[in-house]
Symmetry: C2
Subunit: 320 residues, 2 copies
C-alpha cells in the first residue's frame, strides 16, 4: 500500500545539540529535568551530553554531573557523544549507554578545519577507536558521516565520495572484526535537498542493501522535513532529531547554522502518515515548551505552537 | 531523468497574507516598498492586498492606497483578493490585475463559521460572481478550494469531498460559459501531510488530467515544504508562498495558525533540485529581511538566515 516504513526509530538529540550552543548557561538541574521529561514521551534513545573539551564547548562542562544526576527509566537508552579517545574514556566512566560509532567526514576540508585531520588521519583515528571498542567489548553500531551532502568549505559532496568514505570506514571496522549494521548520513550544515537525499541514500543503499540507513538532518534552510520525507519514501527508518528544534552546530562556520529537524514536527508528520514512532505527541510538545522555558527564547518548532491533531479529532468525534 | 517539473510558477502571497495579520499598523509606504522590492526579484505574480471589510481586517483598510501608490514593473502581475462582490467592485476600481477565481470551501463547517454560508449558498454566490466576471469580460483562472485537507471544525477532508466540491464549481463555471484551467487546493489550517497531498492531488488529477493544480500550503505544523515536495513529485508546478514566511489566517480559529510556506525556502529547494523558479534568491532574501524590519519581529523563514548556496559555490569555485 505504501513505500513508507511502518515504524521509525528516533534518536533524540535535543539535550546534546541544544544545550551546547546556547549562549547563556543552562543549569545541570534543567538539563536533567528535560532529559527525564523526554524519557517519559516514549522516545527510546536520548543523546544526553557530549564529552568534549569544556574550553571549546563550555555548555557541556557538566556532562558528568548530568549523567550522575539522571534518574533513568527502563527501556530508554541514554547515549552520549565523544569525538576522541579522551571523550570516550569519560563516556565509559559516566555510566551512560555507549553506542559505538565510527565517525568520518565526507568532506575532507571540513574535518581538516574542525578536527585538524585529513581523511587518512581520520581513518587512523578510527583504528585507535576500534581497538578501544574491542577492549571495552563494545559493538560498533554505526558508521556516521559528517557533511554527507555538502559543506561550506568543499561545496557539494558527491554520492561517490560518500560511498568511498563509507567503504573505507566499513573496511576498517571489518579488519578489526566488527560488522556494522547502520550507516548514518549527516547533513551537518544544511546542504541537502530531497533530491540530494534520494541520490546519496540511493547510492549507499545500492552498495549496501542490507544495512540500515539513518539520517541526521539540520534544518538550516527550511527543507529538513522535506529531506526527511524523501528519506522515508526510500524506506529510511532511523532519524536523529531535536525536541523543539533545539540546537545547531557551533563549529559549522556558519552563523545561520540551525538545529536538527524538530522531533515533534517529525513525529507529527510520521504519525499522520500512519508511521508508528512510539512517541506520545502531546507529551513531546510539553517537553518542547519546557525546553523553550529553559533556554529563555523561542524555539523553531512549529507543532509546539500549532498543536497536534489528535486532541482535535477526539473532540470532533465526541461532538458527533 | 526526474519526475519533478522543469519550472514552477510562484504566486507571492506575502504582502496580503502577511500584513493583514500583524498586530501593529504597517504603513502604506512600507507595504508599497515591500511589493516593489518583491517585483524586482523575478517573481511574476504578487498578491498585494485584500479588498475585505476594514472593520474585520483593519490591516487591509489602505488597500486602495497601496494599489494607487504602487509603481508597477512590466511583466509582473499585481493581484488582489476579494471574498464577495463588494470586494470585487473595489478590486476593479483599484486598477490592480484581476485574476478571476471561484472560491469554495471543501469543509462546510469552516465556511459556515467564517462566511456564514453552507455549500449550497457558496455555489449560489459563485453564480453571482460568474455573472459579474462575464459582465467584466474577466476569465475564470482557477477554482480555489479552502480547507482541502482538513479543518478544525470538520476534521479530515476526504479526496472524494474535494473532487465533489471541485466538480460542482467547475459545472457552475461551465454553465456560465467558462472553462477553468486550474484547481487550487489550500491547506488553510495546516492539516496536510505529504501523503494527504498525494491522495488529494492524485484524486483531482485523475479526475481532471488536463487541468493545472496549484497548492496553497500553510506551515502550521512544520511540514509545509515536505508537502510542497510531495506536490512537486506529482508534477505540481504552481505554488502560493509568502516571503519570509509572513502571514497567517486571522479566521482560522487557531492561535497557532502559521503563514504560508516561505517563498525563499521554496525557491531554494526548487533551484537546488534543478527546478527553475525565475527568481533571484539573494534579492528575495533581501526582501525577507526588509519584511522583518517592517513587521519588527523575527519571521519564520530559514534561508533568510542560513543564506543561499550560490554565493558559497561561486566563492569556492573562484578559490580553486
Amino acid at each position: 500500500m505504501s513505500d513508507l516504513p511502518a515504524r521509525v526509530h528516533i534518536h533524540e538529540e535535543g539535550p546534546r545539540e541544544g544545550f551546547q550552543i546556547e549562549p547563556g548557561p543552562i543549569s545541570t538541574e534543567d538539563k536533567v529535568r528535560f532529559i527525564e521529561a523526554l524519557a517519559g514521551t516514549g522516545l527510546r534513545e536520548i543523546e544526553c551530553v557530549s564529552f568534549v573539551n569544556p574550553r571549546r564547548v563550555p555548555g557541556q562542562a557538566d556532562a558528568e554531573d548530568v549523567a550522575r544526576w539522571l534518574k533513568r527509566r527502563p527501556g530508554v537508552r541514554y547515549t552520549c557523544l565523544w569525538l576522541n579517545l579522551k571523550g570516550l574514556e569519560r563516556a565509559v566512566a559516566s555510566g551512560l549507554d555507549l553506542a559505538g560509532r565510527l565517525l568520518v567526514g565526507a568532506s575532507e576540508p571540513f574535518t581538516i578545519r574542525n578536527a585538524g585531520m585529513d581523511l587518512k588521519a581520520e581513518l587512523g583515528e578510527q583504528k585507535r577507536w576500534l581497538a578501544k571498542y574491542r577492549e571495552l567489548g563494545l559493538a560498533v553500531e554505526q558508521v556516521a558521516l559528517f557533511t554527507a551532502f555538502g559543506c561550506n568549505f568543499a561545496g557539494d559532496v558527491t554520492p561517490e565520495r560518500v560511498v568511498e568514505v563509507t567503504r573505507l570506514s566499513l573496511e576498517n571496522a571489518a579488519e578489526a572484526g566488527f560488522q556494522v549494521g547502520k550507516i548514518s548520513l549527516a547533513d551537518t550544515v544544511g546542504w541537502a535537498t530531497p533530491r540530494a537525499v534520494e541520490r546519496v541514500v540511493g547510492a549507499v543503499r545500492q552498495r549496501w542493501p542490507d544495512k540500515a540507513i539513518a539520517l541526521h538532518l539540520h534544518d538550516t534552510r527550511g527543507v529538513g522535513l522535506a529531506n526527511a520525507y524523501a528519506g522515508l519514501k526510500l524506506g529510511v527508518a532511523h532519524f536523529d532529531s531535536s525536541c523543539g528544534g533545539l540546537g545547531g552546530c557551533p563549529f559549522a562556520g556558519h552563523k545561520g547554522a540551525a538545529g536538527n529537524i524538530c522531533t515533534e514536527d517529525l513525529v507529527f508528520m510520521c504519525e499522520e502518515m500512519g508511521i508508528d514512532t512510539g512517541v506520545d505527541l502531546d507529551r513531546l510538545i510539553a517537553c518542547a515548551q519546557l525546553a523553550e522555558k529553559i533556554v529563555g527564547h523561542p524555539l523553531p518548532g512549529k507543532v509546539m505552537r500549532g498543536g497536534g491533531l489528535g486532541a482535535l479529532r477526539a473532540r470532533l468525534k465526541a461532538a458527533e
